[in-house]
């Protein structure tokens, strides 16, 4: 294996050596930002031609309306009135919020042109070879620009043409850490962003795989279609400690507590960026944002270009996406469709077995999904924007769960959402309806043993209102306040539950950022959640102090708590589980018939973090964090409680449906052990030359298990858990060349782990922990691609685990090998 690791390192070095000296394009955002800065400086210095040229480069790399505005304004100042008018018109096509003001400017400029034309006759118009102004991002045909005659600056007052948009439009911005746009430098938590460029160059088509490159993020492929995500440890099958949002809409499956990625109606091509907040997020997002939040920001309706993309490769792995976007006046729209087929990494049973039966016939397919997504946004001038839309994802999926549900298949599922949101300067409101329906069964069981068929329907209606207020006493004393209220209705009908269940959740939250001096900000959050199952309020405070030693660097100290409420499965489960003795069952129950007053408590985390972020340089970014987490009350399968004679009158009822006799009772319980986690993350991203983007990060995670709360009996059933690797390294290179070749190489190393997994001891008839070692593994993913037809088309070859280092990412997970896909894409 070490030779293969060396080979991976050599590949990276080779890539660096091969491409470093060649003319290329840099990280898009950084490069656009650099051009923008240069351009604005030149314009300020009166070097309009240079300035406009730089701005046009910036716009070409990453189109932004403000850049167009500044180009137009510079033309006006330079006296290129015709070009100014033309560019202002393009700016207006983006439907900006200052449409009326811009129209006034435009009229004024057109009047000046008329005056000028009256003063001197128009010279003959030469026909240019090609446009000198950039195309608008949507690809709408543009009128051939006019090359005006040389003219002297109008010398008109700047007020006539509006103020320059000097804000750093290409600065990295995130919205997830504080429920509002802000620089990562101002965020009270450790954050990271996966950009559209990261996504495209990686060639990855599984959304969670995109996050593998980040420090502090644990990604675990369990089956071909199941990838689990956790932040700063505590990953598991059906991972339930990270809240995943799509444009702020929670896609957390309350039935299981997991994120089922296949139920998302979007593909990687629909993603504008992914924001990751590391550390507890309950103070803003309530339950389940236990160790972090992932917010997938999709491309806005009306922005970007239409296109299609596809990929096909190993074991018929297939990915296809088709999308169209457009704008009609104030209304922007985007529609997308997609298809994914993911084979299993390994089969559970061979064909021809007489003694078993399977839940689905095909033991090769892991997931097959069809996606449809349609979104729109209607702008109402300055009043605000109404967003609306819906999505559908349906298909099949194999999941490795826990306990007796350790290998289940959903031969049919359908997930839909209907979402509407209102955003304005002071008020944001959002309502959505998530629905998940599906059939499931065990993947395989012996003939005569139940496949535990089930039908599930989950309906979630979620609403949230946030008031945003800003008090600016001076430039150095600013207070930003957000106060919100949230409501979530959950309705679950599921064969595995004791009865149809619904819950009403309410919450109030507050977020306040106080900038008391230029280098110092204070952030305080508090959220109060009513959790019906627990019949009590859960409090989630967070506090942070931000020090800015320089304009582009931050030292951040924060303390936060979070909780994860018991899921529906953990709260209301009632599942007779057939034992190897076919007529006997262990009845796994949330509402215990032998102890009806018992409830499972919420999982808790207390976190303290010290972070340092430096974005001072144009060629590198440094992000580091040290943290301590105290994690307690984790929910696990309960120890088996044998049926006793005393239980008999109340609990000794044979299950009529299955004929099983309960011989013991299971369910859920809170772990007696707690965990003190000491960790750190260090990330460096650098852009040493144009077209080359190199990143590297290291994650340390030391877990100290605290068994002081355990009884001797409990101690006899538990073992030490070190499921999070102590050391994790990610490194990679992205390249884009002007010749059209581009690609990336990502290297990941995860140190060995020791998983304390619960297994059933059928002799003892009890659930016990068993320690499984998971060997360290290295993973190299790569993509090489070629762009052609003026960058409208591209082909690529993508490899997952290109070195073919077979490994598991969970002790029970499937054996991962190499997979290769051929990709293509076309943008209209």
């Amino acid at each position: 294996m070490s030779s293969r690791l060396r080979a991976a390192g050599a590949l990276i070095v080779l890539a660096l050596a091969t491409f470093a000296a060649r003319p290329a394009l840099a990280d898009a955002r950084t490069e656009a930002r650099a051009h923008f800065k240069k351009g604005m400086e030149a314009i300020s210095a009166g070097k309009y031609d240079d300035g406009i040229s730089e701005l046009e480069k910036a716009y070409e790399i990453l189109p932004h309306p403000n850049v167009l505005y500044n180009i137009a304004r510079a033309h006006a100042e330079a006296g290129n009135l015709d070009k100014a008018v033309e560019t202002f018109k393009k700016y207006l096509e983006t439907n900006p919020p200052d449409r009326d003001e811009t129209l006034a400017v435009l009229k004024s400029l057109e009047a000046k042109i008329r005056e000028r034309d009256k003063a001197q006759p128009e010279p003959p118009r030469p026909v240019p070879d090609k446009p000198t102004t950039p195309e608008k991002p949507s690809g709408t045909p543009t009128t051939p620009p006019v090359t005006p005659p040389p003219a002297t600056p109008s010398g008109g007052p700047a007020g006539d043409i509006g103020a320059a948009r000097t804000e750093d439009v290409f600065a990295e911005s995130i919205v997830t850490a504080s429920k509002g746009a802000q620089s990562p430098l101002d965020a009270p938590s450790s954050t990271a962003v996966i950009t559209e460029q990261d996504i495209r160059l990686s060639g990855i088509t599984k959304i969670p795989e995109l996050l593998r490159r980040l420090a502090g993020v644990d990604i675990m492929q369990v089956t071909g279609g199941q990838t689990e995500l956790s932040i700063r440890g505590f990953n598991q099958r059906l991972a339930n400690k990270t809240l995943v949002l799509v444009d702020g809409r929670s896609v957390y499956a309350d039935i299981l507590g997991a994120t089922i990625w296949q139920t998302l109606s979007i593909g990687v091509e629909d993603i504008q960026r992914i924001e990751i907040v590391r550390g507890p997020g309950s103070s803003l997002y309530g339950a389940d944002a236990f160790n972090g939040v992932v917010n997938i920001i999709t491309k806005k309706p009306g922005e970007g270009r239409s296109g299609l993309a596809g990929a096909y490769g190993s074991e018929a792995t297939t990915h296809g996406s088709l999308w169209a976007t457009g704008r009609e006046g104030e209304l922007g729209w985007r529609m997308a469709a997609g298809y994914d087929y993911l084979p299993r990494w390994s089969r559970e049973v061979p064909n021809g077995r007489a003694d078993v039966r399977t839940g689905v016939g095909d033991q090769v397919e892991s997931s097959r999904t069809i996606r449809l997504d349609a979104r729109g946004a209607q702008r109402f001038g300055k009043a605000g924007t109404l967003s609306f839309g819906g999505g559908l994802a349906q298909g099949s999926l194999e999941i490795l769960g826990i306990g007796t549900l350790q290998d289940i298949v959903l031969p049919k599922f359908a997930a839909t959402d209907v979402t509407t949101a209102w955003t304005s300067e002071h008020l944001d409101a959002r309502v959505f309806w998530n629905r998940l329906r599906g059939d499931s069964s065990l993947n395989v069981n012996y003939v005569g043993q139940s496949l535990l068929p089930s039908r599930v329907e989950q309906n979630i209606v979620d609403g949230e209102v946030v008031y945003k207020g800003r008090l600016e006493v001076s430039a150095d004393f600013v207070n930003d306040l957000r106060i919100g209220a949230a409501y979530r209705y959950k309705d679950v009908v599921w064969t595995y539950l004791d009865q149809d269940r619904f819950e009403h959740h309410y919450a109030l939250f507050l977020h306040d950022e106080l900038k008391i001096a230029k280098p110092i900000s204070l952030v305080a959050d508090y959220r109060l959640d009513w959790v019906p199952y627990l019949e009590r309020f859960q409090q989630s405070p967070r506090g942070a102090v931000l020090l800015h030693p320089s304009k582009q660097s931050t030292i951040r100290g924060s303390v936060a708590t979070a909780f994860r409420k018991p899921t529906f499965l953990e709260s209301y489960l009632r599942l007779p589980i057939q034992l190897p003795v076919a007529g006997a069952g262990q009845f796994s129950e949330g509402v215990r018939r032998d102890d009806p007053s018992f409830i499972v408590n919420a999982e808790r985390i207390l976190s303290a973090e010290l972070g340092y972020l430096n974005q001072e340089s144009d060629v590198f970014t440094i992000d580091t964090a040290l943290y301590f987490n105290r994690v307690s009350s984790l929910i696990e399968l309960a120890a088996t409680r044998p049926l006793t004679v005393a239980d008999f009158p109340t609990a000794g009822t044979q299950d009529i449906a299955t004929g099983l006799f309960p011989v013991g009772f299971g369910g859920w319980d809170n772990q007696c052990q707690a965990y003190n986690v000491y960790g750190g993350e260090a990330s460096l991203r650098t852009y040493p030359t144009e077209g080359l983007d190199i990143y590297g990060n290291y994650t340390l995670n030391l877990v100290q298990q605290d068994n002081s709360g355990c009884t001797p009996d409990q101690l006899s059933r538990i073992v030490a858990d070190q499921r999070t690797s102590r050391h994790k390294v990610n490194a990679g290179v992205q390249l884009r060349t002007q010749a059209g070749f581009d690609g990336s190489i990502d290297f990941h190393f995860v140190a060995d782990q020791f998983w304390a997994e619960q297994v059933t001891n059928f002799v003892r008839q009890q659930i016990e922990q068993e320690r499984f070692r998971l060997s360290e593994y290295a993973l190299v993913n790569a993509r090489v691609g070629y762009r052609f037809l003026s960058n409208q088309a591209d082909v690529g070859l993508v490899g997952f685990n290109v070195l073919g280092l077979e490994h598991r990412q969970h002790p029970f997970g499937q054996l991962l090998g190499r997979r290769v896909m051929l990709q293509f894409g076309y943008r209209f």
Binding site: Y312, G313, S314, E315, A316, W345, S346, R347, E348, V349, P350, R353, A354, D355, V356, Q363, Q406, D407, V444, N445, Y446, V447, G448, Q449, V581, A582, G583, A584, R641, P642, T644, V645, A646, D647, F648, P649, G652, Q654, I656, G659, F661, V663, V759, V763, R764, F772, Y786, F788, V795, G796, L797, R808, P811, F812, Q814, L815, R818, V820, M821, L822
Partner: protein, 571 residues
């Protein structure tokens, strides 16, 4: 252009060559692989009276029990539980049968029979040869977990995969033991003709299909409920399980748990007399007195009767309110054959067997004395692999007398005349030790003495304790060997020819770890953690403990000379 085409073709070629099959992963460590196993599948057919119903559901289940043919259940074997079982609910078996929606149990008249059938499957099953027994639990009383509810009762219907013709021919025989047909799971391996062969299962598993299981024979009587007593032959004092006295330490009860003081402690070198050559009432009485004995009284202790039969209590013992004919409910009748000591002494039903329990001298893990040595559960108690199954067979007496047993007349069938309110069983100082995996091969009969003085004082010298011919006729005895008896606690079981059995101690007589400890009351006991009644007469005092050799006799060193054979020793 050519360059682009070549590039494209190269990419396609690489992608195509990457396509491979999805492999089988057989190295995973989560036991999710479902190794090849056996399945027994067939149809259970019921012929009998219409079933009872309650609240819209048919009451009861067709219980299909799978036993290893090498160790079938009593009386033909020693299996204390089935290797696997499945219950076909009455609602499934009688899916078209009318039923009451009332909450009260309704049982239609039993004057006419109906027929119903349903498929069943039992899996996973290890490769081997099996017998399949079955019964329909007409009152819904069956519960697999507890010894006091895990066997058929009077009124249930019994059957299995049996010789149906033979059963039909013996329709009127109340003591009939059906002939079970073997069900082979797997591929037969070579074996001697008189042995049950080994079987193996191939990579695709094995299904023993179309196994017809018939249920149709009404079980005529209840299980042999009893509570044990010991009458000291010298002092005539009676010791019973329900009388909890002073703490008393013993090798099998090193913590002096008063609830575990045995009703009878017997030295492992106990001397018995040899049977008299010329049996007379006097010599037979002398011969009988040479044995330790147990008095097994019908039902439960008098003050426990209401709790034992109360339908609101979990026990639900099927004890008639008044013993028929005032004679109790134990059926004592002829079994055929004779005891191995003397061909003139007939063997009787119920069979008395003392079965060695797992060793738990500190009373930590098997508080209720339920775990039998030689079973899988023994490991949970001892932390060691299962030891041999050790059984001490008792001699069932008719009307407490060996002379009466010989003289008779002993009822030939389990009729009303066979009912008794108690029986006396002589405890033979000889144990049969079986390999739990090969009970079919017979056991080693170990006894500390092969000879003894005759019960007839006029006969001198040492005489054989066992009749050689009678021993040779015992199918379960593979070999007789002189040696001491395995020490420890032995549960007491009574077995009828129908397979119905009753064992003390059982769960009704003590509290599990989850229920707390036993609180001894005036009338009955109770559990401290989860309150419920404890029937102390069924408790952990109801055992025979084999202790070390007497320190005073001339045989104090006998166990040095004739130690417990290896076949009888627990690991």
């Amino acid at each position: 252009m050519l360059r682009r085409i070549l590039l494209f073709l190269a990419l396609v070629a690489i992608a195509v060559t990457a396509c491979t099959d999805v492999p089988i992963d057989d190295e995973r460590n989560d036991k999710r692989l479902f190794p090849p196993r056996g399945v027994i599948r067939g149809t259970v057919t019921y012929v009998g009276p219409p079933p009872c119903s309650r609240a819209g559901h048919i009451v009861g289940n067709a219980v299909v029990l799978v036993f290893d043919r090498r160790n079938p259940p009593p009386p033909n074997g020693l299996a204390t539980s089935a290797v696997n079982f499945v219950a076909v609910p009455g609602d499934v078996l009688f899916s078209n049968q009318p039923r009451t929606v009332a909450d009260e149990l309704f049982c239609p008249p039993t004057t006419s029979n109906i027929e119903a059938s349903a498929p069943f499957a039992v899996a996973p099953v290890e490769p081997g040869s099996y017998v399949v027994a079955a019964f329909y639990d007409r009152r819904g009383r069956f519960w697999p977990t507890f010894k006091f509810r895990n066997l058929p009762e009077a009124g249930d219907l019994a059957g299995g995969y049996i010789d149906v013709e033979d059963a039909r021919r013996n329709a009127g025989n109340l003591a009939y033991q059906p002939i079970y047909r073997p069900v082979d799971v797997g591929i037969r391996q070579p074996a001697p003709a008189d042995e049950i062969p080994d079987f193996t299962i191939g990579p695709n598993g094995y299904v023993a299909d179309n196994i017809p299981v018939s249920i149709g024979r009404v079980v005529p009587f209840t299980r042999p409920y009893f509570h044990p007593r010991h009458i000291d032959p010298v002092t005539k004092t009676e010791t019973s399980a329900e009388e909890i006295g002073e703490p008393l330490r013993s090798p099998a009860n090193t913590v002096a748990d008063p609830l575990a003081v045995p009703i009878l402690a017997m030295t492992q070198d106990v001397h018995v007399l040899a049977p008299p050559s010329s049996p007379t009432p006097q010599t037979l009485a002398a011969y009988q007195e040479g044995f330790q004995s147990l008095k097994l009284a019908w039902g439960v202790a008098k003050n426990e009767f209401d709790d034992a039969t109360d339908p609101r209590q979990p026990f639900g013992f099927q004890l008639p309110a008044l013993p028929p004919n005032g004679k109790g409910g134990l059926l004592v009748f002829a079994r055929g054959g004779s005891i191995p000591e003397n061909p003139s002494v007939p063997e009787l039903w119920p069979q008395v067997a003392l079965v060695k329990l797992a060793s738990d001298p500190e009373r930590k893990t098997d508080l209720q004395s339920l775990v039998v040595q030689g079973t899988r559960e023994e490991t949970l108690v001892t932390g060691k692999p299962p030891g041999p199954i050790v059984v001490i067979q008792g001699i069932t007496l008719f009307d407490d007398s060996l002379a009466r047993t010989i003289a008779g007349p002993v009822p030939a069938a389990p009729t009303t005349s066979a009912l008794r309110d108690h029986l006396t069983a002589l405890i033979r100082p000889a144990a049969l030790c079986f390999d739990p995996r090969r009970v079919d091969l017979g056991g080693v009969l170990v006894t500390p003495h092969l000879t003894g003085r005759s019960a007839d004082g006029s006969e001198s010298g040492q005489r054989p304790l066992f009749d050689a011919k009678a021993i040779a006729a015992q199918p379960r005895v593979r070999e007789v060997r002189r040696g001491c008896l395995p020490t420890g606690r032995y549960a007491i079981s009574l077995v009828y020819p129908t397979g119905q059995a009753w064992t003390v101690p059982n769960e009704s007589g003590g509290c599990s770890a989850q229920e707390g400890s036993v609180r001894v009351g005036d009338r009955v006991g109770s559990c401290t953690g989860k309150p419920r009644t404890v029937l102390l007469s069924q408790g952990s005092r109801g055992v025979v403990e084999i202790i070390g050799p007497s320190q005073e006799g001339i045989d104090s060193g006998i166990c040095d000379d004739f130690p417990v054979p290896a076949e009888c020793q627990a690991p």
